[in-house]
């Protein structure tokens, strides 16, 4: 492994996170909150106890998987932001199938397949009609939101609890890794998936074809690789990981093991995944670490809201700033140059 080649992207990601934290502090101060108290509870809530760490890891599982969706797209030259819709469909598919066959493998498989199928139209529209995937995947996300809401509210609702869907039957639930927390096997599945995707992308022919198509579609075609095939595979694999994320959330989150009203508990993972992917530099192994970081932000947010009385949404503000900072080209070079000039 080329250690030197990894150092700069890592430094840039850390810089982006620092910029997010500093601007976040300024926003907190301008809004009349105590930044130090907010950040204190953010860290204590996510890393200050065994329960906090379990919560951090639990929250990181679905966003690692949705980050892989975006990263697979980016490595193939696509901006696939359709993970959100596949998460909804993965979750409802797991709930529906396990009602009939209460087995965890069936639920995960259903999530995987339905998640992939949901993104297939975007792939087909891209390959055969040239429709830009940013537009098609966003439209698919909105359509998925309403269709899955309808399934959740009108078809697979819980007759004893109008606020949620039917629950995953006990025999189809993912086992907890730590009793009393929501850390389940879903975390192991997410890390394992990231490693599999790493192997596919860097040690198998299909991954090589995807990456070459992403870097230079014309050269790929010249070398006998079909960029169209690469596009379809990129969407299918990405849809699978996002669908798995959705299935994992409902199958591994106590106490309800269901989709709650307005899809509240399965929303926004797709968008959070984009940030995780960008900070992880679209690399499956980088994503494991940035996934845990974003998991910590989201686990600590509850403690921050409870004790420092800062609205949860503050975390999204910090995440947005981190992404814009990631987009600054040569951030590391710019900063080191600036510091050198300051000293001179």
């Amino acid at each position: 492994m080329n250690v030197k080649g990894y150092w700069k992207p890592l430094a840039e990601s850390i810089l982006a996170i620092l910029i997010g934290a500093v601007i976040g502090a300024i926003v907190l101060w301008l809004s009349g909150y105590s930044a130090s108290s907010a950040y204190y509870w953010l860290i204590v809530g996510s890393l200050g106890s065994l329960d906090g760490i379990a919560e951090t890891l639990a929250k990181s599982a679905p966003i690692m998987l949705t980050a892989i969706t975006f990263a697979l797209g980016a490595r193939t030259g696509l901006f696939n932001i359709g993970a959100e819709g596949s998460v909804y469909f993965g979750a409802i598919a797991a709930i529906i199938t396990t009602q009939y066959i209460p087995n965890p493998l069936i639920g995960l498989l259903a999530g995987l397949i339905v998640g992939a199928l949901w993104l297939l139209p975007a792939a087909i529209l891209k390959v055969y009609r040239g429709v830009h995937e940013v537009i098609s995947t966003i439209m698919l996300n909105w359509i998925a939101l309403y269709l899955v809401s309808w399934l959740a509210v009108s078809v697979y609702y819980n007759p004893r609890d109008p606020n949620s869907t039917l629950s995953i039957p006990p025999s189809a639930r993912l086992p907890l890794l730590m009793e009393g927390t929501s850390l389940s096997l879903a975390f192991i599945i997410a890390v394992f998936t990231a490693i599999i995707v790493y192997v596919i992308m860097w040690h198998m022919k299909l991954g090589y074809e995807l990456r070459v198509s992403g870097q230079n579609p014309r050269a790929a075609e010249y070398g006998g690789i079909s960029p169209k095939k690469a596009t379809i595979w990129s969407f299918l694999l990405g849809g699978m990981t996002a669908g798995l994320a959705g299935a994992g959330i409902v199958m591994g989150t106590p106490p309800s093991y269901a989709i709650t009203q307005g899809l509240a508990n399965i929303q926004n993972y797709g968008f959070d995944g984009i940030g995780v992917a960008l900070v992880g530099r679209n690399h499956p192994l980088g994503i494991i670490f940035s996934g845990i970081l974003f998991g910590a932000l989201s686990a600590g947010a509850t403690a921050m809201q409870q004790h420092a009385h800062v609205p949860l949404e503050m975390i999204k503000v910090i995440e947005g700033i981190i992404i814009i900072a990631v987009a600054v080209p040569g951030l590391y070079d710019l900063t080191t140059r600036w510091f050198r000039r300051e000293r001179a």
Binding site: I135, M139, L147, W150, M314, V317, I324, V326
Partner: protein, 303 residues
């Protein structure tokens, strides 16, 4: 369907047309100059929020609309700085703007008004309609202004030297540079105009049309505006017509959802997908002919 219903559907479609048209026209100007921005969703969110804040502070909806333009301008300056001057990726800052918009508005509504997810704009600071009837139908002055903006943008882009230069830096920046056109300045200006227009559209959502700020006020209109730009083949006048079409479906879906007879037959969620399904179908059907500016989305670096 009687006369009142038709009037209400047409007026409703015109109202829904405004924000989509403003985003499309702005995005057309920006992409004609070669800069892609997918952050309009975020710009709509921010300007809806700050537009309301400014309108309430000034006690006037028009000031809110101007405030929205200013907020759009500032966000556009950030995007333009990253893409035009630092030569960064065009898509990633847009994703960041959108996420920042969703988070900030939800946070801002809590932090500033102390309510979760939604704030009602007082009637006294809303933009006064040009015309209204007894059934609650109204025509906003912004409809007329948006039509004027479409015509002026078309004329400037295709009939003036300024428009020719904007288009030349988006088609062939090397040639434009060789002719002494400041590629970066023209691109940056186009981004600013685009984001200011989207900013007006965002403030229109809150201080005019909807009369409320919610944490999901943009509701995909930034992206529908981009799809409409593609549909219109990067032409502001066609974009106006396209926006009316999308506004019609948006409004039709509201109408069906609120009609007790129709709502009983078809689940409302199916109707709510209508504008998004139509967008997909239209973009899929039309795009074979669409041709973006040649240097669209490509950072220009001088040799």
């Amino acid at each position: 369907m009687n006369e009142t219903m038709i009037i209400s559907l047409v007026l409703g479609s015109l109202s829904a047309m405004v924000p989509i048209a403003l985003v499309s026209i702005g995005a057309t100007i920006s992409e004609r100059a070669g800069v892609v921005n997918i952050g309009y969703e975020g710009i709509l969110m921010f300007s809806a929020f700050f537009g309301t804040m400014i309108a309430e502070w000034a006690g006037n909806g028009w000031v809110g609309l101007l405030g929205g333009a200013l907020v759009g301008l500032l966000l556009g300056a950030l995007h333009g700085f990253l893409t035009v001057y630092l030569k960064g990726d065009h898509v990633i800052p847009g994703i960041g703007l959108n996420l920042l918009g969703y988070g900030s508005v939800a946070f801002g509504i809590m932090a500033y008004w102390g309510t979760a997810g939604q704030h009602q704009v007082p009637d006294t600071v809303k933009v006064e309609p040009l015309w209204r009837d007894a059934f609650g139908n109204s025509l906003s002055p912004m409809v007329v202004i948006t039509i004027a903006i479409a015509i002026v943008s078309w004329w400037v882009l295709f009939k003036t030297p300024f428009g020719l230069r904007i288009r030349s830096v988006g088609e062939n920046p090397e040639a434009a540079d060789a002719l002494g056109i400041n590629v970066e300045l023209y691109r940056f200006t186009a981004v600013l105009i685009a984001s200011a227009l989207a900013g007006v559209g965002g403030a229109y959502l809150s201080v005019d049309w909807l009369g409320t700020v919610t944490k999901s006020i943009a509701a995909g209109r930034g992206f529908i505006g981009l799809a409409n730009m593609v549909f219109s083949n990067w032409n502001p006048l066609v974009a106006l017509g396209g926006a009316f079409l999308f506004g019609f479906f948006d409004n039709l879906s509201f109408y069906i959802q609120n009609n007790p007879w129709l709502a009983g037959t078809i689940p409302w969620q199916f109707i709510a997908t209508l504008p998004y399904v139509v967008t997909l179908l239209v973009v899929a059907g039309i795009i074979g002919k669409a041709k973006p500016p040649k240097a669209d989305g490509k950072p220009y670096k001088r040799e």
